[in-house]
Symmetry: C2
Subunit: 294 residues, 2 copies
């Protein structure tokens, strides 16, 4: 990780983490539900999506506080999706980031409700925010719902389930990822662009950047599953192969996946080069996502 | 049911039903997910919430089309809550309105995702609607999220789970219902008031009406569980007692519950009497909800 990304995260992650928890803790929510919501939020993680959103603001010289509510909404949605994904009926995972998953600690029923509550809270937080105009809120809420719902993340999760144990074509694999993980990553960049008042040309370039980033995120995930060990990953390595899952390495060989990674990395960097002000921090973020080791 | 309510429902239910399905079917959603979402929407039901919302518009002389998107959003949220409620980890119901529940037909994983997608779609539909100003959308979205989330319906579901098999005080029972079923019913009336440009005094009266209605809805549900048979209800009668659930009749006796029903009915009607234009159809709706037979 470059020094620039490292210090950006060091400066801003604690602010996001505090806001994430505070915005829930602050409310008069029934105890068990609140605990369950906060438990999964505190499980941490890299907060890639909030950091990307704030990085766009930073590059455009927009005060980062402006992005805080949307960044948290985004993380609520990411967190709810993990809680529901981990359920016995879905991926049946007992551990996430080294901690027992939500349903292991609170039971399945509470985990389902905590997920539902976090999803709903994401929309509430933006709608109730004092940092945006009504027009901005509507644009953000619509984009977030599109990215998170049947036409985005949830749709992608269903496609992913249906592809399980099957060998799928590369094109279909890309559609799955564009929805399952790409849509929310894309939102993080586009929400940043919206709040930073990016112009049409900048928005187009950032969209290209965001889409390449989404693919890079997945390729590197797939590569790490093959090349890293469980200690390094903080989760079980080799799971994709064990589950007979179609991945970039399984469809293209490891060498082919690395080549694909290079191409998308170039595409991400290339998109940024058309925006003068955005080829510092966002470039470093592309490097970080592409070459991260866990 | 009065002739007035009967003909209002006969005229407007088909319009809501068609819009509910069309707004989903219209989108390029992955096949299984779309089928699962539509399956539960088509399971029908009385569409009490959408009908109440439209009834407010009717009383205030606002064109009913104005309420269609919000009415559907409301029904999406109600439907998602039933799908998740029926899951094995929650109420474990195999039948709903005489049809196999969503997870019985599509599997648990798809049912969870269909619920998530419907919840998200509710917010998308309002945000993307061409029928409201940005300010109206924000107000509607915030109110809907508050009503549906941790401070409303989801919170109520958790309280209800925690009260299972325990004898709770009447006051606590009322808090549970005010959240679990009351919040969304309240939203249906308040959203109607908002779209009809009700003034402050009217809004207060409608809020009192809505809150009484929420209680009435639950009292009558509890009473029917004791007094009606399964055929009449279209679901298993006597379930509350079998589950040792605290209900109005179990806490107050049947006679006490009927008395309570009369009181809240008077409160609902009384609230309407302060609004000249709203004591026809809305009064009939209060009668219908109070004295319905299933």
């Amino acid at each position: 990780m470059s020094e620039q990304v490292k210090s950006f995260i060091a400066n801003n992650l604690p602010v996001v983490d505090a806001h994430l928890i505070h915005a829930i803790d602050n409310q008069d929510i029934v105890e068990t539900l609140k605990k369950s919501m906060i438990y999964s939020l505190e499980a941490g993680g890299k907060r890639v999506r909030p950091m990307l959103l704030l990085a766009v603001l930073e590059e455009f010289g927009t005060p980062l506080e402006k992005g805080l509510d949307v960044a948290c909404a985004l993380e609520y949605i990411h967190t709810y999706s993990l809680i529901h994904d981990d359920l016995p009926a879905m991926d049946n995972d007992d551990l996430r980031r080294g901690k027992p998953t939500n349903h292991v600690v609170f039971g399945e029923a509470t985990a389902i409700l905590a997920g539902d509550a976090l999803l709903t809270e994401a929309f509430r937080l933006i709608a109730a925010s004092s940092d945006y105009s009504a027009e901005q809120k509507v644009e953000l809420l619509q984009l977030l719902a599109e990215s998170a719902g049947a036409l985005g993340m949830v749709g992608g999760q269903l496609m992913d389930m249906e592809a399980e144990g099957k060998r799928v074509e590369l094109e279909h694999l890309q559609t799955i990822h564009a929805n399952k993980t790409g849509a929310l990553l894309r939102f993080s960049i586009l929400a940043g662009a919206l709040l930073a008042n990016a112009d049409q040309r900048e928005l187009q370039a950032l969209t290209r950047y965001a889409e390449a980033l989404g693919v890079l995120f997945q390729i590197q995930d797939d590569i790490l599953d093959v090349t890293a060990d469980s200690d390094q990953l903080g989760k079980t390595a080799g799971k994709d192969e064990a589950a007979n899952k179609s991945t970039y390495p399984s469809l293209l060989t490891l060498e082919g996946a690395l080549k694909e990674r290079t191409q998308y990395h170039e595409q991400a960097i290339g998109a940024l080069q058309t925006i003068e002000k955005a080829d510092g921090l966002l470039k470093s973020f592309a490097d970080y996502i592409t070459f991260r080791e866990n």
